[in-house]
Symmetry: C2
Subunit: 607 residues, 2 copies
Amino acid sequence: MAALKRFLIGRPLKSTELGEQKLTKKKALAILSSDALSSVAYGPEQILLVLITVSTAAFWYSIPIGIGVLILLLALILSYRQIIFAYPHGGGAYVVSKQNLGVYAGLIAGGSLLVDYILTVAVSVSAGTDAITSAFPALHEHTVGIAITFVLLITLLNLRGVTESASILAYPVYLFVAAMLILIGAGLFSIVTGKVTPDLHTPIGTPVAGIGLFLLLRAFASGSSALTGVEAISNAIPNFKDPAPSNAAKTLMAMGGLLALLFSGIVYLAYYFGITPNAEATVVSQIAEHTFGRHLIYYIIQGTTALILILAANTGYSAFPLLAVNLAKDKFIPRMFTMRGDRLGYSNGIIILGLLSIVLIIAFQGQTEHLIPLYAVGVFIPFTLSQTGMMVKWIREKPAGWVPKLIINTTGAVISFTVSIMFFLTKFAQVWTILIFLPLIVYLFHRIKKHYEAVSEQLRLSTCEQAVPIEGNVIILPVSGITHVVEQSLNYAQSLSANQIIAVYIPFERDDEVRFEEKWNKWRPDVRLVTLHSPYRSIIHPLSKFIHTVQRKASESNYQVTVIIPQFIPKKSWHNLLHNQSSIMIRAYLLFRKDVIITTVPYHLKK
Amino acid sequence: MAALKRFLIGRPLKSTELGEQKLTKKKALAILSSDALSSVAYGPEQILLVLITVSTAAFWYSIPIGIGVLILLLALILSYRQIIFAYPHGGGAYVVSKQNLGVYAGLIAGGSLLVDYILTVAVSVSAGTDAITSAFPALHEHTVGIAITFVLLITLLNLRGVTESASILAYPVYLFVAAMLILIGAGLFSIVTGKVTPDLHTPIGTPVAGIGLFLLLRAFASGSSALTGVEAISNAIPNFKDPAPSNAAKTLMAMGGLLALLFSGIVYLAYYFGITPNAEATVVSQIAEHTFGRHLIYYIIQGTTALILILAANTGYSAFPLLAVNLAKDKFIPRMFTMRGDRLGYSNGIIILGLLSIVLIIAFQGQTEHLIPLYAVGVFIPFTLSQTGMMVKWIREKPAGWVPKLIINTTGAVISFTVSIMFFLTKFAQVWTILIFLPLIVYLFHRIKKHYEAVSEQLRLSTCEQAVPIEGNVIILPVSGITHVVEQSLNYAQSLSANQIIAVYIPFERDDEVRFEEKWNKWRPDVRLVTLHSPYRSIIHPLSKFIHTVQRKASESNYQVTVIIPQFIPKKSWHNLLHNQSSIMIRAYLLFRKDVIITTVPYHLKK
C-alpha cells in the first residue's frame, strides 16, 4: 500500500519545501486559465444558438453581443485585479463579500463557488470525453468509465503537487492557444487576401424581424458563459511565487488578453464565414474546416480542443482546495480541509473534489450538458457579490484614486447582476435548484461553525473554572475465565495502585456462577469478584448497569472509574472472525454511552 | 431499532425458559419432515424423466424402481432410528462418522451437510417461487425478489424460536399431507371402480428395447433424491421434548411411513394413468387433473405443493444451527455458532444460513434447478458415511442383538454408496464441484481448529510459567494543545501514581515547537514535555518511534508503558465528520502494531 502510494504520488515533502511548490507565472497561466480559455470552444456557439431561434440573418448581432462580452470581460479582469491587490492572501469572492457585505454574503459566494468547482470538473471532463467519443464512436458506451478515468488521473496529478501538475499540463494548454491563434490568423489572412467570398453573412446593421431586447440579453447571457473561470486566479494567489499578488495580477492580465483575443477572433470568423451551429460539428470545427479543409491541422485543432476541455477541470483542482482552506479556517467546513498532504497540497480538498465530481458524472451518466447554465449562474452570483463588495469597500475607505476603481467595480457589478438575472429569467428550469441548495449549504456552514464554536468554548481552560479533582481510582475488570489474559490485566490493574479493583464475571447459568466463584476464590482470593447472573444472555446490559452503580458511589468521593478491557489481537486478520470480539463492542458501547475511562490491554496472539 | 427487533422477533427469553421451546412430536414432524415430504412432489417425476429417454413403454420400470427406493427408505429410516438411540444428543452423520470412522470422515459428513442445508433452502425456496410464478406469469420478473422475501420471512420465523415457527408451519405441512392422501385415495378409488381405462399403461414385464442396467441405476439414483431430508431429525434431537430420543425415533418412523405412502401412491398412479412428464405440468398436477379435472381441489393441491416446497427450506433452518453447534463445540467453525439468541435459538446459525442462501439465489438468479444433483449427492455422502460408521460401531462393540442391526446398516450403506457413485457417473458435470469445495471446507475446518487450539494453549495458566511482573508504570500522553481535555487526561494520569508521565507534542513547524514549549512550561512545569518535530506532518510515525524508545528503556526495569489518548465523543453522530478523529487512528495503529496498553479518556461534548 505505502509503496503504491509512493509510486502514484511521489515521496512525501517536508513542510519547509513548500516554497519549491510555488508556481511561476507561465505555469500558473497554464493551469489557472485552462477553464476560462476552454470556454472559447463553446462560448461563441452559445450566442449563435440563441440568435438562430430568430433567423440566420440575425447572426450579425453576434458582433455587438461579442463586444458586450468583451466589455464585461474587461470589467471583470480589471475588477479582479483590484481584488488581488486588496486581498493578497487569496480567497477571492468569499473573502471580499464576507469582509464588505457581511458573513452571509460571503457564505453565499463561497458556497456557490465550491459547488461550481465541482460542476466545472464534472462538466468539462464530460465535454472532453464527448469530443473523444464523437471522434471514436466505438468508445461511446464507455463514456462514464472514460470520464471517471480522466477525473482520477487529474486527481492523482494534483495529489502529486501543484508544480508537477502544472509542468505536465502546461503543454496542452499552450498548444491549444497556439492552435487557436494559427486558426484565427489563417482565417483572417484568407479574408484579407479575399479568398473568402464576403456574401456568406448579412452585413452588420441589417434589420431583422422578431429581434427584441429580451432575446439579445439572453444571447448575451449565454455568451457570458465564456467568462467562467475568470475568478480562479484570485482564489489561488497563495500558489504563486513571491511577490504573489503582483505575479497573480500579471497572470490575470495575460489571461484576460488571451481570452479576449481568442473570443473575438472566433466570434468574428464565425460571423464572417456565416457559420450555422449544428449538432454534428461545433462552430470551432466548422471554422477550422472552412479555413484548412479536413487536413492534419484540422485534426490538431480538434484534438487540442478536446484536451483543453478536459484540462479545464484542473482549474477547479487549483481553486477548490484553496477556497476550502479559507472556509475551513473560518470553521464553516470541516477542519480536515486545512491539512496539507504528503506532497504539501491540500489533499483532502483534492480528493473530495474528485469524488464529488465522479458522483455527478455517474448520476448524470456523463450527460452533464444541462448542468452548464447552473454552472454559469453559480459563477455570476459570486461575481456580482464580489464586485458589490469592492464598491462598498471603495465608498467606505475612499483611498487615493478611488473613483475610477469604484466605476470599474460598479460596471462589473451591474453587468454581472444583469447576467445572473438573465439566467434566471431565460433558463429557470435548469437553474432553479440553486435556489434550494444554496440556502441549504449556507445553513450547513452555519451549523458547522456553531458546533466548532461550542466545542472550543467547552475546551477552553478558564482560570475561574476548576477541573474536577480525582481523589482516587476504582478499576472494574470484566473477566470471561481464568486465563493468561485475565492474569495480565489483573497484574496491570494492581500495579496502578488503585483504591479498589473489582473483577466482574457475567454467567448465563446459575451453576456456572457458583463454579466460577469457587475457582476464583482459590486463585485470587485477594481480588473482589462480583458475578452478575444474566438470564437473558446479554453481557453489555448487566455490565453497564453495574458500572452505573459503581460510578454513582465513586463520584461521591471524587473517585474515577476505569474499566479495563482485555483484547485479543490475532496474528492474521481472518482470525478476527473466530473471536467474538465482544471486547470491541463493549468498549464502543461504554465509551459512547457512559462517562468512564476505558483501558485496553492488548493480548497479541503469537500463532 | 430495539423496538423494531422486539416487534419482529418478540421479547427476549430467559435461559430457563428453554424447556418451553422444545417440540412436541406433532410439531416436530411438521417442521422436520417438510423437506422429505416435499420431495414427493418431484421424486417420482425424476424417475420418469430418465425412463422417457428410452420410450414411454419403459414407464412400467418405475414400479420396481419405486420399490427399490422404498427399500432404501426403509433401510435409512431403520438405520437413523438406530443412530438416534446410539447418539441421543444429536449431531447425526457428523457425530457418527467422527466417532467411528475418524475425525476426517466426520468433517466430510459435517461439511457436506452444512453446505447441503444451504442448498436445501436456496433450491426449495426457488422451486416454490417457480410454482407461484408459473401460476401468475406477471410475477415472473420478480422471481429473485420473491424468493429472497420468502427466505427473509422463514429466517424471521426461526429467529422467533422453534416452537413458534412450528406452530405456524404445521398447518401447511399437514394440509399438504391431507391433500396428497385425498388425491391418492380418489385416484385409487377411480381405478378400483373401473372409471379409468386400464389401457393407459404398458403392463409390468413388457420387454423394452434399449433398457440397460446403467439406465435403471440412473433412474434409481434420480428417484432417490426424494429421500433427501430423511437425516434432519437425527441432527435435531435436542429440539425435542423429553424423552427426546424416543420422541425423535417415533417422529422418524411416522415421517418414514408418510413418505413411503405418498411416494408409492404417486408412483403407482403416475404409472397407472400413463402420465408422461412435460415442461408445462408436473406429474402431480397431471395426476390431480386426471383425477378431479381442473376444479377447486386441483388448485388446492397445486397451492399446497408450492407451499410445501417453500417450507422444505425450514428443515434446513432446524438442522443447520444444531449441526453448526456440534461443529463449533469441537472448534471446527467459529465459536459464535454456539451462542443462543434472545429467543434461545442459535441465531447466528439461522442468520448465516439465511444470508448464504440469499447469496446463492442471487448468484443463480433464482434458477437453482441444476443445483439439485449437487444437493442430492451432498446428502448421500453423509448417508454412506454414517451407515458405515454404524457398521464399524456394531462390529467393534457387539452389543446384544447386533447382527440384525449390522445388516440394516450394511444394506443402507451399500445402497447409499451406490446412489452416490451413480450421481458421479451420470451427472458428473453438475456434481464435480463437490470434489473441490468439500476438501476446501475440511481444510478450513482444520485450520480453524488449529487456531483455537493454539489460542487456548497460549491462554492457559500454567503454574510453571510466570507472568511478567509489573514493577512500575510509564504514562505517555500525546497532547494537541492546552485544553480542558488535556487537563482532564493529565489529572487522571497523575492520579494513577505512575513512576513517570511524559506529555508528547508533535509540531509540524519549528516556530510552533518553541511557542508550545514556552506555553507548557508556564502551565505545567512539573510534567515533562517532549516535542517531536514532524517535518512530514505525520503524527503516527514520530509517536510510534518515540513509544518504541520509551518501551525499550521501560522493559529493562519491568515498567509497563501506557498511552493515554483523549477522545472527543460528539453529541450528534454527524459531528464526527467535523473532528479529525486522529485519536481513533492512533489508537488502532498502536494497538495492532505495538504492545502498549491504551487508555481512552472520553470527553463528551455537551453541545
